[in-house]
C-alpha cells in the first residue's frame, strides 16, 4: 500500500520535474516547513489508573487476514477485561518507524505494547529504555525483563484444514499459494498434507510461492496458474482475499488462512483455521494488572485456544465436521501427534523416523523440507 503510494507520488514528481523545462533554476529557493501552530500539551488524566495497552500493526486492521485477526484479539481483550484502555496504530513500518512508535508509547507510560508482526529486534532496541512498559512481539524468541514473545501453532490448524480439504469428494490435486518458503509456512504445508492424506492418500499439493508478504496481483496470478494446471481445490497462506476470488470464479472449493473469511467466497468456502489471539492478550494483560507478569515465550496451539476453526461451508459434511472436532479434541488431550513418524520428504528421505516426532518446543525450527506428495521447492538448508 505504502509502496504503491510512494511509486505513484514518485511518478507525479517526475512529471513535475520533467515538465518544468526552460525555467531558470536557482539555488536559493526552498520550500518551508509546516505553518506555525502553537503546540498544546495534550496530557489527559486517566481515571483510576486503567491498564493502558497499545497495539501496533504493520498493515491495516481490516485487511481480512493477519492484522484483522490481531485486531479481533484486541476487541476480545476490551470485551473481557475491566479497567483496560487500549489503542492501536496501523500501517507502521518495520525499522525506524517501529522504533519511534515503541519509544512513543514507552515514554507515555503505556503498560503494555504489543507488536503483532516480526519486530523483535526493533523492540529490543527500545525496550531497555522503558523498563516500566512491557513489550510483546509476535514470533520473537529473545526475552528481556520487560519483553515477551508469542506465536501461534499454524500447523495445528493446517492439519485440521487438511482433513477438511481431503474429505472433499474428487479432490486430488490441491493448489497452495504461500508467501515465502520460510519454516513456519512450510511447516503449515506439511501438516496440511498430513491431514489431507489421512482422508485421501492420493492427494498431491502443488505449492507456489509469491515471494511477497502482501501482493494481491501476484497471489491472484499464482492462484490462476494453479487452477489452469488443474487444481481442484485452492488453499492460501497469504493475507489478501485474491486466492479466494479465483477459487470462487473457478467454482472450486477453498481453504482460507488465519481468520474467518467465509464472506469473501460464499460458494467455495470450506473453512480455514483461525488465529485466536484474544485469550492470550487477555491473560497477559491480567497478569500485568495482577503484578504476576513474567517474560515468556508462548507458543500456542489448539490446546491453548490460540488456534481455532472458522465456520464450515455447506460443502462440508456433518461427518467431516465430527471428525475434525474429534481430531481437535485428541490434539487437545495429547492423544494425537500428527507429526508422528515415519515421515518422508518429497525427495524420498526419511525426515522423521518411526517412533520419532517434532517435539513441541522444537516446532518453530521446522521445517526445511517439504513432505512427500508436495510438488514445489524450498531453499536448501
Amino acid at each position: 500500500m505504502r509502496k504503491f503510494r510512494a511509486v505513484t507520488f514518485a511518478f507525479l514528481a517526475l512529471a513535475l520535474v520533467a515538465g518544468a523545462c526552460g525555467g531558470d533554476e536557482a539555488e536559493e529557493t526552498t520550500t518551508t516547513a509546516a505553518p506555525a501552530t502553537t503546540a498544546a500539551p495534550a496530557t489527559t488524566a486517566a481515571p483510576e489508573e486503567p491498564l493502558r495497552v497499545a497495539f501496533i500493526y504493520d498493515g491495516e486492521i481490516d485487511d481480512g487476514g493477519w492484522n484483522e485477526a490481531h485486531e479481533n484479539g484486541r476487541q476480545y481483550l476490551i470485551a473481557n477485561m475491566d479497567g483496560v484502555e487500549t489503542t492501536y496504530v496501523e500501517n507502521v513500518s518495520p525499522g525506524s518507524e517501529f522504533q519511534a512508535a515503541f519509544e512513543d508509547f514507552g515514554s507515555q507510560g503505556y503498560d503494555l505494547v504489543i507488536c503483532t508482526t516480526w519486530c523483535q529486534d526493533d523492540v529490543l532496541t527500545v525496550a531497555p529504555n522503558y523498563p516500566d512498559t512491557v513489550y510483546l512481539s509476535w514470533g520473537g524468541y529473545e526475552t528481556a525483563p520487560n519483553v515477551g514473545h508469542y506465536d501461534g501453532a499454524t500447523e495445528d490448524g493446517r492439519y485440521l484444514d487438511g482433513l477438511v480439504a481431503g474429505s472433499q469428494p474428487g479432490v486430488e490435486f490441491i493448489g497452495y499459494v504461500g508467501g515465502f518458503a520460510i519454516e513456519e509456512v512450510v511447516r503449515g504445508v506439511n501438516a496440511f498434507m498430513i491431514g489431507a492424506r489421512e482422508m485421501n492418500p492420493n492427494i498431491e499439493i502443488q505449492v507456489v510461492w509469491v515471494n511477497s508478504w502482501y501482493d494481491p496481483p501476484a497471489e491472484q496470478q499464482a492462484a490462476q496458474a494453479l487452477v489452469d494446471a488443474g487444481a481442484d481445490l485452492l488453499a492460501a497462506e497469504v493475507n489478501a482475499p485474491a486466492v479466494a476470488s479465483v477459487a470462487e470464479a473457478a467454482g472450486i472449493p477453498y481453504i482460507h488462512y488465519g481468520i474467518d473469511g467465509s464472506g469473501i467466497a460464499p460458494n467455495s468456502w470450506l473453512s480455514g483455521f483461525t488465529f485466536d489471539w484474544g485469550p492470550y492478550y487477555l491473560s497477559q494483560a491480567q497478569a500485568l494488572a495482577n503484578g504476576t507478569w513474567e517474560p515468556a515465550l508462548t507458543y500456542g496451539g489448539l490446546r491453548d485456544d490460540m488456534i481455532g476453526m472458522a465456520p464450515f461451508g455447506s460443502a462440508v459434511t456433518d461427518e467431516t465436521i465430527a471428525l475434525v472436532e474429534q481430531r481437535r479434541q485428541e490434539i487437545v488431550d495429547g492423544t494425537l501427534d500428527y507429526f508422528a513418524g515415519p515421515i518422508t520428504d518429497n525427495q524420498g528421505n526419511v525426515v522423521i523416523p518411526e517412533g520419532g516426532t517434532i517435539p513441541w518446543e522444537e516446532r518453530t525450527l521446522c521445517c526445511q523440507w517439504l513432505i512427500e506428495g508436495v510438488i514445489g521447492e524450498i531453499p536448501a538448508g
Binding site: 507525479l12 533554476e25 539555488e27 526552498t30 501552530t37 525499522g95 516480526w118 518453530t364
Partner: protein, 373 residues
C-alpha cells in the same frame, strides 16, 4: 495553448522568469493552501483540524523523541532525495534509487558481516559505507552504460532494476540460506547482525551520525553542482545536450558519471540505514519505497540540494506523527491524504509560477481581462 469556453477564451502563456520573491512565496503559499484543503477535508469527515495539526507538529517536532525520530526517518530520504536531484538536474531520470538503496544495504551489511570486528570500528564502518556507495554506483551503471552509449531509455531500465534489487534482497533472506541470513533464527528469517563496533555512533537517543553524513553530502553536492567543472557541465547538458555536445563536452561520460554518482548516494543511504538503524539486512525495513519518496522529496525541493533537507524532514515528520494521530482517532489515511494534497498544491503552484492564464472575450467588446494566476 488556448481553450475556448463559450464567449471566452483561456490562453496559457509562459511567464518571464519570476522574481526571487515570487519564487519564495509560491511554495509557501502552496504549502499553506495544502494545509487549508486538508483542514476542510478533516472538518468534512468530522475531525478537528486544529487538533490534528497540533498533534502532527507535536509528534513530528516537539521534544527530544519526536525530533530524533523524525530526523532518523529523514536521513535515508535526504540521500535518495539528493540522488534524484543530481540526476534530474541533468534531465537524466534515475528512477532506480530504490534499488540502489537496497543494494547499498546488501553490500554494506555483507561487508560488515565479512569484516566482523577484525578491523575495528571506524575502519569497518568506513568500509561498510564505501561498499554501500560502490554497490549503488555499480548497480546504477547497469542502466547508465546502455543509456550513455546505446541511448536506451533510463526511465525503464532504472525502474525495472528496482525489482531486480528487491528480488535479490528477498532471496538472500527469505528464500535461501545465504551468507546474510542468520541460520539460528528460524521463527522468522532475518539477517545476521553486524558486530556492535560497526554500529554508527549515536548522538542523541537513537539519532546516529548518518544525519551528519547526509548534511555533509548535501553541501558536497551543492558545491559540486555549483562550483566544479563537472557541475557546470551537468547543468549545461541538462539545459541543452546538443549545445553541450557542440561545445565539446563528453555527454556520454557525463551521463555515466551522473547516474553513478546518483546511484552512489542512494547506495550510501542504504549503507547508513544498515549501519545506523538496522544493523542487519532486514528486507521488510529496507523496502518501504524510500527511493521513490526521494523523487518526491527532490521534486518538492525543486531540485535544490539544500531544499532536500527541509522537505525530507517535513515528509519524515508526517511518517513519525502518523501513529500519534491514530491514537487520537484521526485515521492514518489523513497523513497520506495530506502528502498527496501538499504535492498537488506544489505542482499547481509550480505551474502557475511558470505560466499565467489570460481570459479573453472572443465575442463582444475586445480587450483582455487581467491575467489570473
Amino acid at each position: 495553448m488556448s481553450l475556448s469556453l463559450g464567449p471566452r477564451r483561456l490562453t496559457v502563456e509562459s511567464r518571464q522568469v519570476p522574481s526571487r520573491l515570487v519564487r519564495f512565496l509560491a511554495p509557501t503559499f502552496s504549502v499553506a493552501l495544502a494545509f487549508v484543503i486538508g483542514a476542510l477535508i478533516l472538518l468534512a469527515t468530522g475531525q478537528d483540524p486544529v487538533l490534528a495539526y497540533t498533534e502532527m507538529i507535536r509528534k513530528g517536532f516537539v521534544g527530544r523523541l519526536a525530533i530524533t525520530g523524525t530526523l532518523i526517518i529523514a536521513t535515508p530520504l535526504i540521500f535518495t532525495g539528493l540522488a534524484a536531484v543530481v540526476s534530474f538536474r541533468m534531465k537524466v531520470w534515475n528512477i532506480g534509487a530504490e534499488g540502489q538503496f537496497i543494494l547499498g544495504a546488501v553490500a554494506s551489511s555483507g561487508v560488515g558481516l565479512w569484516v566482523g570486528d577484525q578491523v575495528g570500528g571506524p575502519a569497518g564502518i568506513v568500509l561498510m559505507l564505501v561498499a554501500g556507495a560502490l554497490a549503488g554506483a555499480l548497480f546504477a551503471a547497469l542502466a547508465a552504460l546502455p543509456r550513455a552509449y546505446l541511448n536506451t531509455d533510463e526511465v525503464i531500465s532504472t525502474l525495472m532494476l528496482n525489482f531486480v534489487a528487491l528480488g535479490i534482497m528477498n532471496y538472500l533472506i527469505f528464500s535461501s540460506f545465504s551468507f546474510w541470513r542468520d541460520p539460528g533464527r528460524a521463527t522468522f528469517p532475518v539477517g545476521k547482525f553486524v558486530e556492535d563496533v560497526l554500529f554508527l555512533p549515536r548522538m542523541v537517543g537513537r539519532l546516529h551520525v548518518g544525519l551528519i553524513i547526509a548534511l555533509a553530502f548535501t553541501v558536497i553536492i551543492w558545491w559540486a553542482l555549483r562550483y566544479t567543472k563537472w557541475g557546470f557541465e551537468v547543468m549545461v547538458t541538462g539545459d541543452s545536450p546538443r549545445a553541450a555536445l557542440y561545445s565539446g563536452m563528453r555527454v556520454d561520460r557525463k551521463i555515466l558519471s551522473v547516474l553513478m554518482v546518483s546511484g552512489a548516494l542512494a547506495g550510501l543511504g542504504g549503507g547508513i540505514e544498515v549501519g545506523g538503524v538496522l544493523h542487519n539486512l532486514d528486507p521488510r525495513a529496507l523496502s518501504l519505497g524510500v527511493g521513490f519518496t526521494g523523487i518526491v522529496v527532490a521534486a518538492l525541493a525543486r531540485l535544490s540540494p539544500f531544499g532536500v533537507i527541509p522537505v525530507a524532514i517535513l515528509v519524515a515528520s508526517f511518517s513519525n506523527a502518523a501513529p500519534g494521530l491514530q491514537v487520537l482517532g484521526i485515521p492514518s489515511e489523513i497523513v497520506i491524504l495530506l502528502e498527496g494534497i501538499l504535492f498537488l498544491c506544489i505542482v499547481a503552484g509550480e505551474w502557475f509560477l511558470r505560466n499565467s492564464i489570460r481570459v479573453e472575450r472572443t465575442a463582444g467588446p475586445a480587450g483582455a481581462e487581467a491575467p489570473v494566476s
